[in-house]
Symmetry: D2
Subunit: 262 residues, 4 copies
Amino acid sequence: MWLRTSCDLAFDISAPIPFVLMLRPRSGVHQWIAREEYMLEPSVPVFEFTDDYGNLCQRLIAPTGAFTVRTSAEVMTADHVDQAFGAPFVEIQNLPDAVLSYLLPSRYCESDRFHQMATEITAGRQLGYDQLAAIVTWLRDTIIYRPGSSDMPMSAAEVNSRRVGVCRDLSHLGIALCRSLSIPARMVVGYLYGLQPMDLHAWFEAYLGGRWYTFDATQAQLKGGYVSVGYGRDAADVAVYNQFGPAVYPTAQTVRVERIRD
Amino acid sequence: MWLRTSCDLAFDISAPIPFVLMLRPRSGVHQWIAREEYMLEPSVPVFEFTDDYGNLCQRLIAPTGAFTVRTSAEVMTADHVDQAFGAPFVEIQNLPDAVLSYLLPSRYCESDRFHQMATEITAGRQLGYDQLAAIVTWLRDTIIYRPGSSDMPMSAAEVNSRRVGVCRDLSHLGIALCRSLSIPARMVVGYLYGLQPMDLHAWFEAYLGGRWYTFDATQAQLKGGYVSVGYGRDAADVAVYNQFGPAVYPTAQTVRVERIRD
Amino acid sequence: MWLRTSCDLAFDISAPIPFVLMLRPRSGVHQWIAREEYMLEPSVPVFEFTDDYGNLCQRLIAPTGAFTVRTSAEVMTADHVDQAFGAPFVEIQNLPDAVLSYLLPSRYCESDRFHQMATEITAGRQLGYDQLAAIVTWLRDTIIYRPGSSDMPMSAAEVNSRRVGVCRDLSHLGIALCRSLSIPARMVVGYLYGLQPMDLHAWFEAYLGGRWYTFDATQAQLKGGYVSVGYGRDAADVAVYNQFGPAVYPTAQTVRVERIRD
Amino acid sequence: MWLRTSCDLAFDISAPIPFVLMLRPRSGVHQWIAREEYMLEPSVPVFEFTDDYGNLCQRLIAPTGAFTVRTSAEVMTADHVDQAFGAPFVEIQNLPDAVLSYLLPSRYCESDRFHQMATEITAGRQLGYDQLAAIVTWLRDTIIYRPGSSDMPMSAAEVNSRRVGVCRDLSHLGIALCRSLSIPARMVVGYLYGLQPMDLHAWFEAYLGGRWYTFDATQAQLKGGYVSVGYGRDAADVAVYNQFGPAVYPTAQTVRVERIRD
């Protein structure tokens, strides 16, 4: 399906402050960016670079006063997300080198502490995709998905303790459970068509049967309409904006996803 | 200045054929891409990757029949290109690791054969930018720039022998002369505002005084308005389209660069 | 000074198990590897790759039975570690792209939670190296360095709470404090000549005044004799061995560092 | 088999001169480096980096006077080189991204000029490994392999014209023929056990059926005993030493390969 996504941010800056933004989606295996727009008001010098995960990041110094970032894209993405019950666990020795780092614990995914729990959740399941299905079902049944319930990212251990979280938090717990079973897992931030309430979204992917598969415990069932903006080990890597020094919050953040060209 | 660039290609394909395209400019130190468009007709699956030089490349299989690629961008680029007479030669031991490969000879820049000639052309010049200025002056005085004069890229040795060439060919000779003096040099393809006749353009950069500087022997003087699409060692690395198997040529190629938002 | 380092590991493997080892030091700015040895008994197929941080990693499947890894190196390393009181804080906008990821929180360095504390510890200090000096002094004064006191890595928050730790743990707290002040910091594992008791060691580096500087809160003063084996965001990235599946511990681990060629 | 390889270079330097050396073999899929030695006399600061092809390169400034480089390694390498008649040609669209650049022409492999010739040489052969077998047979039958016959690398076109060359030259022609058929091919430099006369050696690899295969037109038949030191597009990328400024040649170069641990 063709989607038009947009994310507009408005800031009120009291003193010039460095930002690293991650708001430019890339064309890849899952999506094609046919049109894209990235406007800064006022216009300031920007330097774009590619981070360790292949994300396009924009560095700039936000000037004093009103500062707005408006981004939009027209994207072709899959109508249906691939599912593959039976897709096998990949033995560590057969994983590509570049995938290995997604087995390690990270800031918000303390996978070193979840092996026992993950083993119980997936008991009796065939190794691989079916373990993931069990993890996602367990997340849906156990952790309350409540948009707006947290401002700061929660780690997997915190989410597991509080039993409630936003999309980012549920992903952290899903990722930690995967990695504790030696299944590579990574976080994705981006857009989802039809998300209620509309906002930026986060979900996760696991590496099974030789490729990455999408999982999302916040939705009752897996539908199409995902647009990826950033990949990383967890929320620490994929902040839509990282700002350094005294905290600055957007005075407005508007996210839209609409279907086009039916 | 703000520019709107576009490149449209039309093909008539007799059998499905793999392409690698390089038509998506990246935001970087020199330019900011505020709007961008990349349309394929008919729409086919595309996989985008980043090559060794940081260029965004698009892989696809062109289907049988009419196939068109339409790309455009709105770009902020410098009004004036930096010039820096006196910028020094960088000693080999002080070059960044990533720059070293731009000292090596390449397909169309046989720098191993130009040391004597480059030494003569730059005789009496201060090491660094002033050598480059001498090289560019020599190219302007010696090699006839004749758009449309060659279809296939010519190597530096061929250009030096024929004394005539297109932008790509003059760049090859400029790059070979630089490298023969142990000055890193690379090829750039993209757009130039005001180019006569309008077409895709090629120029080169040399690494001096700790950064890359732009040089263009096809223009009487260095003005602003450059938009980069690809970087590489020479034309072999930065083909706007590489197609494999039997040769396929565009039935139409339309390039436009216009000024916007004055 | 010239050092001969060695690390021998012995395992008793009950079923074939995949390992990723990180035991081959690389020559770099700080050290030169003149001789090196890496022996496996029994000999098994090994695949070596370079991870995201530039470390050389060895993948293999440890076979059932006794399995030993013997590594040694002869290394030229600095007699004195550079110190630079007054070296300035580098503004975010001036940091190299590749350094930015060392500002982010990671598994064992929850830098997002230490800003207040770091500000207090460094109160009145000039921004940059002098802040680091205050952090290291505070670590030495406040956290008890007790080799063998922990088996599993402790995060900065845990170390700060328990007030005791091994070299790895003190580094985690030092790194978290740095990053909370927007100073890039990374973990290093390797060898230290004269370490008491001798073992593998961990310390950290901070990016100041345009380069990385070494810090080690476990030693009363900073002396020479460091040999680096791996770099990363924290202990999760630089395990000397990562083994997947049921835990396997070495039955013997022998580390030696001796001076040669005086 | 286990081999002990060594390469010693002696220079007589008249003024300090920057070098980039490529003399440290890496462990990889094909070989395991168990012991390694890299000695400089006199000892000078060296900075090691990894180039675009994954080779370890050593940068240094050779001091005035006698300067020697002594390297050796103990390497486990295959007894037999894999051959795979019938291994298929890989369609361009199925090649890994990282392999695509080995389809492009390069300094010494003008593959853009060999399509007609390669088609004739491989006429009637099944696409893939069998084409390569025809190319290697043709090279053996047509181009005289004469060690010591050239000092400077010859390009494929030159070799094809002169009909004689060293190992490097034959590889250039083999690579150009492969690439002209859309088969990725790359150059390898290193050691070969039993080479007559003993020296550093060069051969090439082609990507077929999803992996790289080894080819060597200088040997009557393909035996085991290869040790790789560097990979690249052609000889321009894999010089064992690159020195900048006035040419400096070794006063002595000694290469040895002997079998150990039978």
